[in-house]
């Protein structure tokens, strides 16, 4: 019986390394791969009236952009890898959402990169790997 591996992907170099690692694992284990891209979002943030009005429009644009510039190039890249790949695009807190996806897909493991985007974002996204390791209910591999 085939199993599923969830890999977190945000377009950064380290997430790319995590992805390569995940593809290798999936090949050797004959597993299916779910590539998860999470758009950081909190329902408890504060917005201005204009932002409220435009939120739905912006969300549509953000999803479109993520599909076009993050997930589609990725699928192209993986098309001849011989691994069955699916994508998940969601809003939420990265760590929580990755674990949610893992439990929904009944994944056997989660693979994430150690750091994400550079600079200040690295501090935020860097914490994702640690948080995932802490809250996940399946084994987690952190790829440096």
């Amino acid at each position: 019986m085939s199993h599923t591996i969830v890999v977190g992907y945000d377009g950064s170099d380290s997430s790319l390394r995590a992805l390569d690692f995940a593809v290798d694992r999936a090949k050797s284990e004959k597993a299916e791969l779910v590539v998860a891209h999470v758009l950081e979002w909190s329902p408890y943030s504060f917005l201005t009236p204009t932002e409220l009005e435009e939120r739905h429009k912006r969300r549509t644009e953000e999803l479109e952009r993520a599909r076009k510039f993050v997930l589609e190039p990725l699928m192209k890249r993986l098309s001849d890898s011989g691994v069955k790949v699916a994508t998940e695009l969601r809003y939420g807190r990265s760590a929580d959402t990755l674990c949610e996806i893992a439990s929904e897909k009944k994944a056997s493991q989660i693979i994430v990169g150690r750091t994400g985007e550079g600079g200040l974002a690295a501090r935020l996204f860097g914490a994702v790997a640690g948080s995932v390791a802490q809250i996940a209910t399946v084994p987690v591999t952190i790829v440096p």
Partner: protein, 520 residues
């Protein structure tokens, strides 16, 4: 209070006329004179007393106050005390218990509530309450809380309608508010004059945006700044403020607005927390303070106008602070993404609760407990000031200065925090109201970059006028414009409330049957 402010303003103008020839008037005084004479008739119309109230009660009862209270009472009864029955459900909606995870990234109930709150939490809670307690005595607090509790039902009604009848455009943006439920809702029920009422409401909404949502804020922000750094002409503050507002609403510098939106809730929490600490320090007087509030509510404890005076002040300040029945909140709440308009109604009823029942009450309690109001030790009645129109305070303070003095009595540094809070509250209220006004403006004149720019420029000009004019005429005009919105809006709410009831009953039965489930 209007009477008091008016006489104060008259006295001020009189003084100016006596001490200097008309030619030597400063810019501030000129602005003030022109403004007061241009708006006087409108103010008098809105605040005219209920016929016969003077003979019956011995005190002029403005009909507009009665109008708001009667409406809140009717909505409370019609919806079977929805504000108490649905309170727990409202909280779980805000927490996101019923939010579909697939809708993540859309405007949440919490965000709609927070944005609407940052439009209402502001000077009404700080300066307005001080004015109410300063004139109506501690008893005004009781009536203010009561009006806040009842106002929750008004808010519930208008915000449900706001979401139900909003316009959704092909590009995904939404526009909602009373002007839309007036036109679309009236049409659906086969009622006439929907369009007419929507136009009337829009006109008043623009005036309200320029008055209470702008001039009053600029005025009090300037008062607060001079309180800390010393006196200087108001138009200077006005131009600085107008510049920042211009950068945000015309220049699209949303980042400034975003920063304020983040700081305002923190300031709100800090304000309430400080108030609670002051209450805890004076815990032995809390019982006494509530005694004053209840005693004053029914006897007046010697304040001008007695019990009726306390009642009018309390009701009026509550309405001005939480805007229940005014229709402004329906504009802010209508952006939420939900399949059930009624859920936004439930969420919005928390707004008057947080604004009036919690924050306003804190201000009142701190003023009372720190002994700012001077009473006669032998009779226990409050002493009036020399003019006989307000209670004598320790340092003769009123408005923001009274609240500032009360908070500083325990923590001397708090006046600086309060000054920053007032400025930020004023700023966020202005941003919110510029949006409400703009929505009314585009409803009247249509959407379009140039048309919108005209309103935005007018809005910025009024920031300068507001900061330069004296408090009396500004507060009169602000109150009058905002209450005029309520006149039109509440008529519409009466006519459309059966629709809200149908939504409520349908939703509640589906919630009971388990058709509407929690996601979390």
């Amino acid at each position: 209070m209007t009477q008091f402010m008016k006489s104060a303003a008259l006295a001020a103008t009189g003084l100016v006329a006596a001490s200097a020839p008309a030619m030597a008037l400063t810019l501030d005084e000129k602005v003030n004179q022109v403004f007061a004479s241009a708006t006087g008739w409108f103010v008098n119309l809105i605040f005219s007393p209920f016929p016969g109230s003077e003979a019956l009660l011995g005190y002029a009862f403005p009909w507009i106050v009665l109008w708001l209270v009667v409406a809140a009472t009717i909505f409370t009864l019609y919806f079977g005390f929805v504000q108490f029955r649905a309170f727990p459900h409202s909280i779980s909606l805000v927490k996101g218990d019923y939010s579909d995870p697939n809708d993540a990234g859309e405007v949440s109930h919490f965000q709609a509530l927070a944005t609407a709150l940052s439009g209402t939490v502001g000077l009404g809670n700080i300066a307005g309450v001080a004015v109410a307690v300063g004139i109506g005595g501690p008893g005004a607090t009781f009536w203010m809380i009561l009006a806040g509790l009842m106002g929750m039902a008004s808010k519930f009604t208008e915000c449900t309608l706001g979401v139900k009848y909003r316009n959704e455009y092909p590009d995904g943006t939404v526009s909602g508010g009373p002007m839309y439920y007036m036109t679309k809702g009236f049409e659906e029920r086969g009622l006439p004059l929907g369009k007419f009422m929507a136009i009337l409401f829009s006109i008043f909404c623009i005036l309200g945006a320029l008055g209470g949502g702008n001039m009053f804020q600029a005025n009090q922000a300037h008062a607060q700044i001079t309180n800390v750094v010393g006196d200087y002409p108001g138009w200077i503050t006005g131009i600085i403020f107008a510049g920042i507002v211009f950068a945000v609403i015309v220049g699209g510098l949303q980042s400034i607005a975003k920063v304020t939106e983040k700081i305002v809730p923190i300031m709100g929490v800090l304000y309430v927390a400080t108030a609670i600490i002051i209450l805890l320090i004076n815990y032995d007087k809390i019982g006494w303070a509530f005694g004053q509030i209840f005693g004053g509510a029914f006897t007046g404890l010697g304040v001008a106008g007695g019990m009726v005076g306390a009642l009018i002040q309390g009701f009026k300040r509550a309405a001005f602070s939480n805007e229940a029945g005014v229709g402004s909140a329906a504009i802010a709440h209508s952006a939420v993404r939900t399949k059930e308009p009624i859920t936004e109604g439930y969420v919005s009823l928390l707004e008057p609760f947080i604004d009036t029942v919690v924050i306003c009450t804190m201000t009142a309690l701190v003023i009372i407990i720190t002994g700012q109001l001077v009473s006669d030790p032998t009779t226990g009645l409050y002493m009036l000031n020399e003019a006989g129109n307000a209670i004598q305070t320790i340092d003769g303070n009123s408005g923001v200065a009274l609240t500032s003095a009360a908070f500083s009595a325990s923590f001397g540094w708090f006046k600086y925090i309060l000054a920053i809070a007032v400025i930020l509250f004023a700023f966020s209220t202005m941003i919110s109201w510029s949006y409400y006004g703009l929505k009314a403006w585009t409803f009247l004149f249509g959407e379009g970059k140039n048309k919108e720019l005209v309103f935005k420029i007018i809005f910025c000009i009024f920031v300068v006028i507001g900061a330069a004019a004296s408090l009396g005429p500004v507060i009169d005009f602000s109150d009058a414009a905002i209450f005029a919105m309520a006149v039109v809006n509440i008529v519409a709410l009466y006519l459309l409330m059966p629709i809200v009831k149908r939504e409520m009953n349908s939703y509640m039965s589906r919630l009971k049957s388990g058709e509407i489930k929690k996601f979390h």
